[in-house]
Structure formats: C-alpha cells, structure tokens
C-alpha cells in the first residue's frame, strides 16, 4: 500500500519532529511542567516566604548561570558528545578577567570580552582535541577539567583576586527594574534564541541528523566535525558568559570558583529530557528543567534544609522524573498503546 492510500487515514503529516521522538519529548515536557507545579505547590505549603515574587525572582540569579550552560551543553549532548569541563572553563575565564582588571585595570565591557574569549578559547581547545585528534569527548573533558582549573589554581597560588570595577559588579548584582536579575533575563532570551535555532532552522536539522547518525549525516553533506567543533566552542563561550555573571556576582575570583557545577549542568540537561545517546531532546525541556531545579532548591533552602539533604532531593528528582514515564509506559498497557502510536 503506497503512501497516498495510508496517508489520508493519518493526517498528522507535519508533526514537529519524528513521530517516536516527537511524542516521547512532548510527554517529557508535560512531566516537567507537572513537576514545576508540584514544586510551587510544595514550596508554598512548606514556606510562607516562597510565593513572593521578589524572592522567586531573586533566586533566579543563583541558577541562571548554570542554566545558560545547560542550553549549549544540551546541543553538545544531542550530538553524542559530552562536556564536563564547563565549571573549570568558568574558573579560567574568571581568572583571566581577574588578571585583566587587576593588572590592566580594564573596564566592565572589555572584562566581559576577556571572559567570553577565554571561555571560547577553552571550548575551542576541547573541540580541537575531540574533532581533530579524534579523542572521545568524555575523556578529553575529564582531562581539561583538571587542566583548566589546575591552570587557574597554579596562576593564583595562594593569592586571590577581588575588587572589580563597580560597572562590572553591576552586571551580576543589579536588577532590571529592581526586580529581575540580568542573568535571568539573559538566560530567558538565550533560551528563546536556542529554541528557534535548534528547532526551526537548518542548523538545528543538521544537529539532530548528526546526533542520530554521524556517518549518515556526513554522507548527506553535513560537515559533522566542523559542527561539533563549533558546538564545543559555543559551549566554552557560554561557560565564559556564565563566568562573567558569576564573577561579577561574587566580586571575587578563586581557583575553586564554580567547583562542581558541571554535574548540576548535566543534571538539568538530562532532567530536560535530552538523550545521552544523542539525537533526541528539546531546549524547551531544558528550560523548564532549569526552573524546576532552581525553584526546588529555593523551596528547600527556604525550609533551612541542610545542603547535604538538598542533593538527595535533586538526585531523586532526576531518577524519578525519568523513571516514572517509563514505568507508566511499561506497566500501564493503555498508556503504552498511546505511546507506540
């Protein structure tokens, strides 16, 4: 039976993504929105301070930096690579900004540039090792993870850098209309840009093609290595951007800055439904996931729950949120019928 015959009993010809991926991901975002609602309800019930627009917005400054990196890391992971060096890239960017402001006394804007460029350079280095020397991404970034932070630690020794120009401090410490942290605004805008680029442009198409079958993509005329190279560099750039906000927010640079953030970034990406086997995932998922994690943390800290227990919550959330749909699919026949359509 050729297509024309069967296609009239199937009008859904322009589903956004492929059938299988498409439905899988939609269900993912529904799960996440559900979680977000739960977090808000739970937060409100457990703490009188939670549902307060100022507190909510204020808390976004805490996770926006991580969330930004999650956006680009999602792309890297969709392309079957992975990058766990971002936190160390942040440390190095922060260091360079510190040195620049200390020794050259640069102003706010040049400092940001220094930060971004350093980040991009680190990303470029990762990209080079992965695509040119053909080393596995996980390995490369495990190495550069300690290399980048190590360099920062080496240069700083037991020194530290503090006192950045006020204009620079304003980036991470002042608010839009005394309410919204600029880092959050940046994150939201970036998310929109990413959503458009990834889901509505040819570039996005290439990324998903590459993620689903690198060799096939290559044979289809996509310059796969170039694309991966670019994504690694982009990821470095985003880490640089995150470093700008964090450094400005802290007003201080130390080698241990942003220590361990890489895991939080990856947690968000994964929670957002990006498949680590590549080829599947949405930015909107990552966006919501960032909010879920961010506000969950706020709700928990507002109840003065020790940080050590907080990580139990985020860890559980990660596993459960992925497990639930699968369990549903696996053990509720009705649901599974719907799925396989």
């Amino acid at each position: 039976m050729t297509m024309t015959v069967s296609s009239n009993n199937r009008p859904s010809l322009d589903a956004p993504s492929t059938i299988s991926a498409g439905s899988m991901l939609k269900s993912r975002e529904i799960v996440l929105i559900g979680l977000l609602i739960l977090v808000f309800v739970g937060g409100d019930l457990s703490s009188p301070w939670f549902l307060d627009i100022y507190n909510l917005l204020d808390s976004t400054a805490i996770f926006s930096e991580i969330a930004m990196m999650a956006l680009s890391t999602a792309l890297v992971i969709i392309c079957r690579d992975i990058d766990i060096s971002m936190a160390s890239v942040m440390a190095l960017s922060s260091l360079m900004m510190g040195l620049a402001s200390q020794s050259l006394g640069l102003g706010a804007l040049p400092l940001c540039l220094v930060g971004l460029l350093t980040g991009a350079a680190c990303g470029f280095f990762n990209g080079f090792l992965v695509t040119r020397l053909k080393m596995p991404a996980i390995v490369v970034t495990i190495g550069t993870m300690s290399l980048f932070r190590g360099v920062a630690a080496g240069v700083l020794g037991n020194e530290k850098i503090a006192h950045y120009p006020d204009a620079f401090a304003a980036i991470g410490q002042s608010y839009f209309m005394d309410m919204v942290p600029y880092s959050f605004i940046t994150f939201v805008l970036l998310s929109i840009v990413f959503i458009i680029v990834i889901h509505y442009t040819t570039i996005g198409r290439s990324i998903f093609a590459l993620g689903n079958n690198p060799e096939g993509a290559l044979f289809s005329g996509i310059r796969t290595d170039r694309l991966r190279f670019i994504l690694f560099t982009l990821n470095g750039l985003m880490a640089g951007l995150a470093a700008v906000f964090l450094t400005s927010r802290l007003g201080s640079t130390r080698p241990d800055i942003a220590n361990g953030l890489e895991m939080e970034v990856i947690t968000i990406v994964v929670l957002g439904g990006v498949s680590l086997n590549g080829g599947k995932g949405t930015i909107s998922g990552v966006f919501i996931a960032a909010l879920v994690i961010g506000f969950l943390r706020l709700a928990i800290t507002l109840n003065n729950v020790p940080g050590n227990i907080l990580i139990v919550f985020t860890g559980t959330l990660l596993v459960v949120s992925v497990a639930l749909p699968i369990i549903g699919q696996k053990y509720l026949p009705r649901l599974s019928k719907k799925k396989s359509e």
Partner: protein, 329 residues
C-alpha cells in the same frame, strides 16, 4: 590486534615504571622497599574501583555513583562498627560488600529493568547516596579511636611484606581477570558492549547481565568503603569526593574503549597504577603545590592521546602486497 593490545599494556607498564624511576631520581628514598610497599598499598583502592568501573564501561555504561557508594557504605559500616565494636573483623568487609551490593542492585534495576541511561541513573544515585551519608551520620565524623582495633589494623597486616590492602587489590584483579576472560558471563559482556542487538540475537541475557554488572560494581565499591575508611581512619561526608572521575580516567588511560566492547582488565589495572602513582609522585618530586592539578590534567590527556593512536582501526587492504609506504591520513 591482539599484539597491539599486548603492546599497549606493555607501553603502559613501561610508562608506569618510568614514572617511578623519575621519582626515584629526584627523590631517592621514593624507591626504597618501604616506599614501594606504601605505593602499592596506596594504589589498591583506585585499582579495585577502576576495575569496578571498567566492567560497566565495557557494556557501554558508566557508574558515577561508585565514589558516593564507597563513602556511604564506609560511613554506614563505620557507624555500625562504632556501635558494636565486639564483632569479629570479618564482619566489616562483609557488611560493606552487602551494602554496596544493594546499592549496585538499585542502579542495576533502574538501568536493566527500566532501561534508563546509566549516566542518568548514576548521576542521580551519586547525589542521593552522598547526601544520605549526612542523613545517617548527622554530620558527625567517625575517627581513629572510635573504630574497633581490627577494623584499622587487619588491612594493614603485612603478608609476604605487602599489606592486605594490596593483596585484596591483587585478588580482585585476578578474580576480574578470570571473570572477563574465562567465564561465559565475562565474555558475553564484551559482546553486549560491542553490539548489543547482536548479543540479544545471539541469546545473551542482556538484561540479566546488565543488572549483575552494576551489582558487582556496587559490591566492589562497597568493599572499597571499608578499605578507604580503614586506610585513612576517617569516615565523613566528603570521603572520596570526585573520585568517580579518577576511576573513569584510569580506565581510559588503560585503553578501555569508552564506547564499550573493548578493553582488558590488565589495561585497566595499569591505568589505575599509572594514575595513582602520578598522584603519589607529583608531591614527592616537589612539583609546585599549586601546579599539581594542572599537570595531572595535562598528563591524563597525553596518556589518553597515546593509547588512542595505538588503537587505530586496522587498515582494510584491498590491493594485494600494496606498496608499503605508509598511508597518509
């Protein structure tokens, strides 16, 4: 190819020796018998944990929760030991293995039964168990004088001049070698890693094997919980923080293919020896305290680069006896 593997392990062994020699030249009393004994003792934990990690990577998985498992198990058993110091020493390792096994089974269940990507599962359980340490200990430390005598002393008993730490490492290594080369289970892991679908078609019980691999990894991590707390006479929330990445690095340096299906126990062991020794000698040869981390990062990259170029896919010749001038890439 088999030769290539051999040669890679030879290369690793050589560079390991080289490390020690360098250290010896710079700091002569790093190569005293006593010093080498200590070195081997120190390497045992990384060795065992790297092997635990290796079999997971072998089947295209990864276990980021090994360190958290180690820390949690260590704390649990330390607390139990403090509560009933009377029990015979053998109880502690056994308890550790049991608890570790359950943690591993939990990972295994999620990965094998629910088909959740391993990195997701273990990323989650990593935080969970790390946090649980605080929950069970209430943030208190368990320290030297609280441990029962045997808990600390037994692993240190020298046998043929080497501590039990080392012998445990060696026994585990041998066990794993036996498993991966001489048992059906072990060989089928290579199949699963190399081509999961083919393995299923061949009648390999993929689900079952996956579950048990994570369980074994858990058990070994648990065992390390005892080794660690005993060695440093200390159980607290930060035990082995970030150690999981060292185990992965060790495997990769040891030539275990991160994409699964290839790699040997011997390789992984030498990877661990190399990395662990590196961490031991950097301070000894007087590398600036501040630059040690950067240096180890660089060396990991270099080591990985070298055994990567040694694992080039074989050229599939079509021309007979083609001119032997090298292939330009």
């Amino acid at each position: 190819m088999v030769k290539a593997l051999k040669s890679r392990e030879a290369l690793l062994a050589a560079s390991w020796i080289a490390l020690i020699v360098i250290a010896g030249i710079v700091t002569p009393n790093f190569v005293t018998v006593q010093a080498l004994r200590d070195l081997l003792t120190d390497l045992s934990i990384l060795m065992v944990l790297a092997l635990a990690q290796m079999i997971v990577i072998l089947i295209r998985g990864i276990d980021l929760s090994v360190a958290a498992n180690l820390a949690f198990t260590g704390m649990m058993v330390a607390l139990i030991a403090v509560a009933n110091p009377g029990l015979p020493t053998i109880v502690w390792p056994v308890l550790c293995i049991i608890i570790g096994t359950f943690i591993g089974m939990f990972n295994g269940l999620l990965v094998a039964e629910l088909k959740i990507p391993p990195i997701v599962v273990t990323l989650g359980t990593m935080s969970v168990w790390r946090g649980m340490i605080f929950v069970v200990s209430g943030g208190a430390w368990v320290v030297q004088h609280q441990f029962p005598e045997g808990y600390l002393s037994v692993p240190r008993t020298p046998i043929l001049g080497l501590t039990l730490f080392f012998w445990i490492g060696l026994i585990v290594t041998f066990g794993m070698w036996l498993m991966t080369t001489q048992t059906r289970f072990g060989r089928e892991l290579y199949g699963m890693g190399g081509n999961p679908r083919a393995a299923e078609y061949a009648g390999v019980r993929v689900k079952h094997h996956e579950f048990w691999v994570y369980t074994i990894t858990g058990a070994l991590s648990g065992l390390c919980g005892w080794l660690w707390t005993s060695r440093y006479a200390m159980a607290n929330t930060d035990v082995a923080l970030g150690f999981e990445l060292q185990t992965v690095a060790a495997c990769v340096i040891g030539g275990v293919a991160i994409s699964g299906g290839a790699g040997t126990i011997i390789g992984a062991v030498f990877g661990a020896l190399f990395l662990g020794t590196l961490y031991n000698i950097l301070p000894v040869i007087g590398v600036s305290q501040f630059w040690q981390q950067a240096l180890s990062g660089a060396i990991i990259l270099i080591a990985v680069y070298f055994n990567m170029i040694s694992r080039k896919p074989p050229v599939r010749r079509i021309l007979p006896q083609a001119a032997s001038q090298g292939v330009q890439e």
